[in-house]
Homo-oligomer: 119 residues x 10
Amino acid sequence: MSTQPSKELDPIANPYPERDYEILIEAPEFTTLCPKTGQPDFGVITFRYHPGPYIIELKSLKLYLWSYRDEGHFHEEVTNKIADDFIRFAKPKYLEVVGKYNVRGGISTTVRVEYREEK
Amino acid sequence: MSTQPSKELDPIANPYPERDYEILIEAPEFTTLCPKTGQPDFGVITFRYHPGPYIIELKSLKLYLWSYRDEGHFHEEVTNKIADDFIRFAKPKYLEVVGKYNVRGGISTTVRVEYREEK
Amino acid sequence: MSTQPSKELDPIANPYPERDYEILIEAPEFTTLCPKTGQPDFGVITFRYHPGPYIIELKSLKLYLWSYRDEGHFHEEVTNKIADDFIRFAKPKYLEVVGKYNVRGGISTTVRVEYREEK
Amino acid sequence: MSTQPSKELDPIANPYPERDYEILIEAPEFTTLCPKTGQPDFGVITFRYHPGPYIIELKSLKLYLWSYRDEGHFHEEVTNKIADDFIRFAKPKYLEVVGKYNVRGGISTTVRVEYREEK
Amino acid sequence: MSTQPSKELDPIANPYPERDYEILIEAPEFTTLCPKTGQPDFGVITFRYHPGPYIIELKSLKLYLWSYRDEGHFHEEVTNKIADDFIRFAKPKYLEVVGKYNVRGGISTTVRVEYREEK
Amino acid sequence: MSTQPSKELDPIANPYPERDYEILIEAPEFTTLCPKTGQPDFGVITFRYHPGPYIIELKSLKLYLWSYRDEGHFHEEVTNKIADDFIRFAKPKYLEVVGKYNVRGGISTTVRVEYREEK
Amino acid sequence: MSTQPSKELDPIANPYPERDYEILIEAPEFTTLCPKTGQPDFGVITFRYHPGPYIIELKSLKLYLWSYRDEGHFHEEVTNKIADDFIRFAKPKYLEVVGKYNVRGGISTTVRVEYREEK
Amino acid sequence: MSTQPSKELDPIANPYPERDYEILIEAPEFTTLCPKTGQPDFGVITFRYHPGPYIIELKSLKLYLWSYRDEGHFHEEVTNKIADDFIRFAKPKYLEVVGKYNVRGGISTTVRVEYREEK
Amino acid sequence: MSTQPSKELDPIANPYPERDYEILIEAPEFTTLCPKTGQPDFGVITFRYHPGPYIIELKSLKLYLWSYRDEGHFHEEVTNKIADDFIRFAKPKYLEVVGKYNVRGGISTTVRVEYREEK
Amino acid sequence: MSTQPSKELDPIANPYPERDYEILIEAPEFTTLCPKTGQPDFGVITFRYHPGPYIIELKSLKLYLWSYRDEGHFHEEVTNKIADDFIRFAKPKYLEVVGKYNVRGGISTTVRVEYREEK
């Protein structure tokens, strides 16, 4: 099994697809580089979703988040991008992604993106 | 009285069946095995329900949760299964089961299942 | 003034009966006996109510809760019974009684009863 | 400027009267006397209001709360009275007054009064 | 790049303008002068907004808040003014500004301003 | 096995008598009666001891603490008495008993008794 | 029994005078007047002592602390004075009095006085 | 590499053997069976040690703690046994093992074992 | 009385000069400018001292800390300088000054200076 | 000024070299790679030191910690190495380095290294 950073998420079959239930995933070990200064940024990414046909395998999520380690991203942009990727791979009924980033210049930022499947 | 792990829950008559009230049960001592690695997983299972004809006897709930100790289960699947069993034995008006599982690979998972009796 | 345990609550005139307001009472010193084993159980009883014609005098509430000290009661039953007695004496517009009981067998239980005056 | 206890609150012009916004004031240093025993009672008074034509000057609020120091009041009555006075002086669009009083006889009491301007 | 206090906020293009998402910014290092006594006041300013065409660059927000350091402002007025400036520069779909100011005379004040874009 | 309140503690053989180690026992469910008013008092009893020839069986400790439920005791006296009984039954090398009693009249009391075996 | 403020503390016989043990008393409801402005000050007084011939009856301590309600005192002076009075009435082997006073002008003060009986 | 429960700990060479430093390991996922009832017990095991020639590989520690899952042990005995095994495999200069076990019968127990290498 | 920033502290006579006691002062509203960038820095200054002939009047301490508002200082230097000034004005038997400064660049700094009067 | 990762720390002259004082630095944004799996590890590094001739410039410390981002290190080894480097550049009178690393396999590790200058 791969243990390399990856832009792919591994969707596996939802064991209870007929039920609308919720999965909350907290990933406190997220780091990227600041696109302006090249210096490391740190944050906590939280996913709250109602699975559709798939649930996301946790190890693949870990490798996915790892893939940002050497990339430059703004907080607002990367949180949206992570949400887009999650939607593309998991096709959830509902998704909330929250990125809570550490203090810089005495100020901290949290970005919250919400998605609801169209019916 | 039995003190063996059991897949049965013991429903006893709801002493106030005419009233819609809520019972919250926190069981922080839940452990299973990881179906991939065979290694122990740990979590906290919480039940919040509005009893119908029955309330669930707490000792039987303890023996029921114990029955998972030597079984392999994924978090998403086992939380749904516990909810199904609770619904089958207790026939509640409303049920929420939350399974909050410990950190693995720097990531923690919580699964929340909700049920409302059809009218 | 009596300082004996009592099954009576002392209703006194609500000083602002024309206003719909809320009173929250926390009583963390509640103890009964387990009806199965005869051993002491402990819990916290919370009342949140919107008074109607009466408010409940606090000392009488203390003596009332004391009256359970030597009686055997299940958590679900006693919380409902306390709510019934409070409704009978205070005739509130709204009442919520929450009984939060200590851990037994690794499991803790909270029972929440809600009441709304019929209009 | 006066530094005596006073039953008057000092309303000053709301600098943004056209906007519906919220002001939260926490006053943790409130004390009265118990009307039964004459002994001191202590509590925290919180105001949350949407100002109308006026906002309340904070020093006058401090002197107002001070005015209860040597008076006997029941918790339910004094919380309502403070709300009435605040409404009379500030003419708010919305007001919530919460009085949270310290433990007496193992029991603590909180009184919450809400007011909405009629339209 | 400037590092002087400034009354300008720097709006930059919202990277996901088609999505309604939320940005939370906490700035715990806010200080002004009391307009009555000239003495320093301290507080925490929090912005929660749904960006429209722009997001606000964080460094410019820091310089903007710095610009209040030597000015005299009442809590109610300055919180509204900060909201007005944010609306003018960022044109958000939704904005909440909360100013939580430190205890003075035993009393603390929080001011919360909310704005929704007209449709 | 008995499940009655008892003034006896059950000493069992210390499995590691040759080692000086520490056992901490927290018993948050202690209640007596006030010797003046006859009303219930509540507290938390903590034992920290270095066992000598015996360790104390926990169920017997529970029954022992239960034995105070219907007795009148002052905080200072009962904490010392509990320590004396523990010393008599367990013969520890070191013992600390702490009784932390709930607020009465706005004041809370903690009594701490320490004992060291004479050499 | 008196329920008036009093400058006397009521010493009662120490039930275990032969043992060096500790009593901790927390009194969070202390208020005096500022000697400069006449305005109320608030604080928490904590006593930690090793009793000699006497322990201090808690109700008398409550009435004693009440006696400061209408008096003007500086924090440093009143904490020392309370310690002196406690020593005079209780003749403890050891005493620590801590007065923790609320924020004034953005600054909070705690005064700690320690006493050890001369041998 | 093995992923089976094991009674062996894997000592690896201390990378800084000439320095007296400290390693703290917290293992909150410990479970055994009660030797009396056969029912599961849960606890947290903490190791604090000053390594001698070896440090303990963490995965082997995890497999070692797993080995208690199906065994019956009293709290006092198992904490001492774990300490003995750690000493035997790691030969530390100093070791503290703390086992903090969950509430049973309203009472919780913590066992602390300390070891210092003889010189 | 002055309400201007000042480099003077106002020593007043210690009311209990014969006793070795402790005064703890917490001042959470300290701000200076960074000597490199000119941007504001924020911190909490705590004084813990055993007074000699003088105690420090709190209002003068507030004005003293205010005097740093427009000055550039490094954390290590300013904490030491504040300690020196306090020693010069108060001549304490013992002094500890702690400056806890807010996060900059993901790193926070605390400086602790201790002083003992020579005998 | 450089903003590249660096193995150099920048010592600057201690402004108060004649005084033995303490500096505490908390750096919660430390990340390396696991030497076995190549996957990211995360931790918090804390420095507590008594400066000798130098204090360490904070920006250089940040760049220094950054230099570990792409290197593989065991927790025990890297904490010791960081301490060695700090000693070499800062020549402190006293140093404590604590590395607190995130949970892996249900177990968390903290390594604490202490150093005292020889006299």
